[in-house]
Amino acid sequence: MSVLGELVRRKLALFGLVVITVVVGAALLSPWITPYPPDQQMFDGLTLEGAPLPPSAQFWLGTDLLGRDLLSRLIEGARTSLVIGVVANGAAVFIGTLVGVTAGFFGGWIGTILMRATDLMMAFPALLLAIVLAALFTPSLWIVALVIAMVNWVQVARVIYTETRSLSERDFIEAEWGIGAGRGRILVRHMIPHLVSIMVVWGTLGIATTVLLEATLSYLGVGVQPPTPSWGNIIFENQTYFTSAPWLVFFPGIAIILLALSFNLVGDALRDILDPTQKGRH
């Protein structure tokens, strides 16, 4: 059975898959499906006193402080958040895996240098680093994604390094050397498949934290610049009004949680499907 077929067969994974598809679809089609232009400040989007409107038939999810339609901004913001969550986090996992595996598998002075560098990065406050990097380059969506990847690979590298080291000690790897397998084969055929589950976990768990990191950067003015919406910066723009206009924090919050949860569910299922010892056990 194909991997996709297996995924669909599992109810929770199917749910995740549907949510992800909806969000990706919305992000791609946003110019055509937003009920209002996301940046448009509407006169009827505010009460007479200038307060935002709660959800209604006209504005499904309500409006924000400037009278903009929240649903439209969420749909538009899905683009930013997906790029940050998927691309930036994916890049972080990729870099981290590369560094961790290289250091763990080849060891020697290369390994020492790589892991010392990783430790150094870890000791440095991630946010500070992000701010410095973001200040050096003009913030744009892709720069922010790059900055986040540069900050987030460290933990992945550390975890992958440890796992690679412990895999190297396993009997079956020794048995592979014994039959004359070369480095490339051991790495690709026998180590990477065992690291996939960690990569999947980080790839999915990391999405929520990355989206929030982007929000923090936005809040500090070095993230994605207004008026471009992202789920994170919608929350941060509006958090002070949580008591008077809770929907402004509630809906983007739900969006982030749902997306992260969905990636987690799909990731969990993927990990099980790719592990032959888990077959028939879910």
Partner: protein, 612 residues
């Protein structure tokens, strides 16, 4: 012995522990499974009851059920009763159970390292066990702890209290575990494979200790083991279990001499017996337990050796301190020399840490080593991985744990095909045929090759490992404890297969093992290793029938025999620990001299000879 047995009969009226119709159920992905089915037992004071069986027989589940220590929530007792001194234990609350555990009924486990807390001192752990049940002050508890340690014959008991588990050897740790279990004077001690993880000489000491405890304190012991030798040495009565059911139970002599159930007979027949091959040259052939056929004597006189080892030395650096400088060295293997001729099985025996596995790994070039190794004409010292590759076609290795040595993410077919692919020996259709042929050769169905290792039993997995090694048509196979992890019946089958392959293909085996009985059955020649050195080497018959080195004698003495009429009371002579091979940097190993004591039979006459 006789008087003790008499005493058992006197007390037979009042069992201290009674189990009736015990049923234990475990939830599995495929629904609930009964793992203990209708077990009955009576345990009298001062009696040793052995529960024997192979893996999956339910013997451990039985003990956990009695102790109320079943893994929650997967397993639970679903029927029957357990009465300790007239008190029903099934259905007792956790709090009440806890008051009984350690005080009335105690348990010791297989792994003495993992059952002790590594960050607490021995003293803290023992006094904790005492204070949990007795309202004693600190000082009193400490006195009790010292008494408990002295009872298990730990020297310098007071000083041990301040030590941590890692400072003690495996045998000492198991003594501490027993001391903890016995500290409150329980009526029943359950010992689950208490000596399985220990070396045979240490095992003998622990068994001797348990015998004494039984005699001194009249504690009733349930001893759970897979080792029929241990059963014969220890048991008054025996329960044989298979697949959760009691197959047979009775006095130990009846079980060994007049087994009623077919299963018991098969089990006993499969047990390799030390001495079964005495007075014969060459390995035993045919089904173990049956009279061995006239085995081919030693292989043809002195052909060119296929493996030649001279002065093999392996040392591992131990780094420490801030700068990670080398502070000590483990002298794992020290100046070992031997030859392996075609079609011959050379066994390397010794206890853990003696360097036997390291020797095997050095032959495979898996670790750095010094000296000279010539494999089929190629000197392998300092060969790069690429240069070593053609040599690996002549020498292959089969590891101890077949599950750990197979990549769990590959099908067994891919795993068996892999060496052929790596060495470019076959591809496409031919590869498929070769793999199928290899499967048939080790008596596995070729149709099973699309399955994964975890879908096979231990014996089948080891067959996969053997098929994998055979793929390259090697001349030598290094078998590192290759049958040690298997149940005896499976072990016998795998040994048969190995001997058959040797006869057909002329393979040479370097058979690394701690099991003297298995070695006696399979090998042509034997090398005994101690502290990284060979102390005795020669034809199997010479080494087993007329051992010359003190250590060889001690090793042979310590093996428990599966014969309850031949119990030995000289275990006590086997005191002492195996010294550590960790040496300071400037340590120069003393030279070693060998004496020829017979044709090809050489014995070390070194200073070490005096030690063991």
């Amino acid at each position: 012995m006789t008087s003790e047995r008499q005493q058992d009969n006197d007390t037979a009226a009042a069992p201290v522990l009674t189990v009736r119709g015990l049923r234990t159920q475990v939830a599995t992905p495929r629904g609930p499974k009964i793992v203990v089915d209708g077990l009955d037992l009576d345990l009298h004071p001062g009696e040793v009851l052995c529960i024997a069986g192979e893996s999956g027989s339910g013997k451990s589940m039985t003990s956990l059920s009695i102790m109320g220590l079943l893994p929650q929530p997967m397993a639970r007792v679903v029927g029957g009763s357990v009465t300790l001194d007239g008190r029903e234990l099934v259905g007792l609350g956790e709090r009440q159970m806890r008051a009984l555990r350690g005080a009335e009924i105690s348990m010791i486990f297989q792994e003495p390292m993992t059952s002790l807390n590594p960050v607490l001192t021995i003293g803290r752990q023992i006094t904790e066990a005492i204070e949990a049940h007795r309202p004693l002050g600190r000082a009193e508890a400490r006195t009790r702890a010292i008494q408990a340690l002295e009872a298990v014959r730990i020297p310098e008991a007071a000083r041990r209290l301040t030590q941590y588990p890692h400072e003690l050897s495996g045998g000492m740790r198991q003594r501490v575990m027993i001391a903890m279990a016995m500290a409150c004077g329980p009526k029943v001690l359950i010992a689950d494979e208490p000596t399985t993880a220990l070396d045979v000489t240490i095992q003998a000491q622990i068994l001797e200790l348990m015998r004494d405890l039984r005699r001194d304190s009249n504690t009733a012991i349930i001893l759970i083991t897979h080792d029929m030798g241990v059963v014969a040495e220890m048991a008054d009565r025996v329960i044989v279990m298979n697949q959760g059911r009691v197959v047979e139970s009775g006095p130990v002599l009846d079980i060994f001499e007049r087994p009623q159930a077919a299963y018991t007979r098969d089990l006993l027949a499969a047990v390799p017996r030390l001495g079964a091959n005495a007075g014969r040259d060459g390995p035993a052939r045919g089904q173990p337990g049956r009279p061995a056929e006239a085995a081919p004597a030693a292989p043809p006189a002195e052909p060119a050796p296929v493996v030649r080892v001279r002065d093999l030395t392996v040392r591992f650096d131990i780094t420490g301190g801030l700068l990670q400088r080398v502070v000590n060295r483990v002298h794992a293997v020290e100046g070992v020399s031997f030859d392996l001729t075609p079609g011959e099985t050379l066994a390397i025996v010794g206890e853990s840490g003696c360097g036997k596995s390291t020797t095997g790994k050095a032959l495979m070039n898996l670790i750095p080593w010094q000296g000279e190794i010539v494999i089929d004409g190629t000197a392998t010292h300092g060969l790069s991985r690429r240069a070593m590759r053609p040599v690996r076609r002549h020498i292959q290795m089969v590891f101890q744990d077949p599950y750990a040595s197979l990549d769990p993410r590959m099908t067994v077919g891919e795993l068996v095909a892999e060496p052929l692919v790596i060495h470019g020996l076959a591809s496409g259709r031919e590869l498929d045929d070769r793999v199928a042929e290899l499967f048939r050769r080790v008596r596995l169905e070729p149709e099973q090759r699309h399955r994964y290792p975890h879908e096979f039993s231990g014996g089948q997995r080891q067959r996969v490992c053997i098929a994998r090694a055979l793929g390259l048509s090697p001349r030598v196979i290094v078998a590192d404890e290759s049958v040690s992890a298997l149940d005896v019946s499976v072990q016998a089958q795998v040994l048969d297969l190995m001997q058959e392959l040797q006869d057909e293909l002329g393979l040479s085996y370097l058979f690394i093992s701690h099991d003297m009985a298995v070695v006696e059955q399979i090998s042509h020649r034997v090398a005994v290793m101690y502290m990284g050195r060979i102390v005795e080497i020669g034809r199997r018959r010479d080494v087993f029938d007329t051992p010359r080195h003190a250590y060889t004698q001690k090793l042979l003495q310590a093996v428990p025999l599966p014969d309850p009429r031949n119990r030995r009371d000289h275990f006590r002579k086997l005191d002492g620990e195996i010294p550590s091979p960790v040496r300071p940097l400037d340590y120069a190993p003393p030279p070693q001299y060998f004496m020829d004591v017979g044709p090809g039979h050489r014995v070390a006459a070194d200073p070490l000879g005096a030690a063991p």
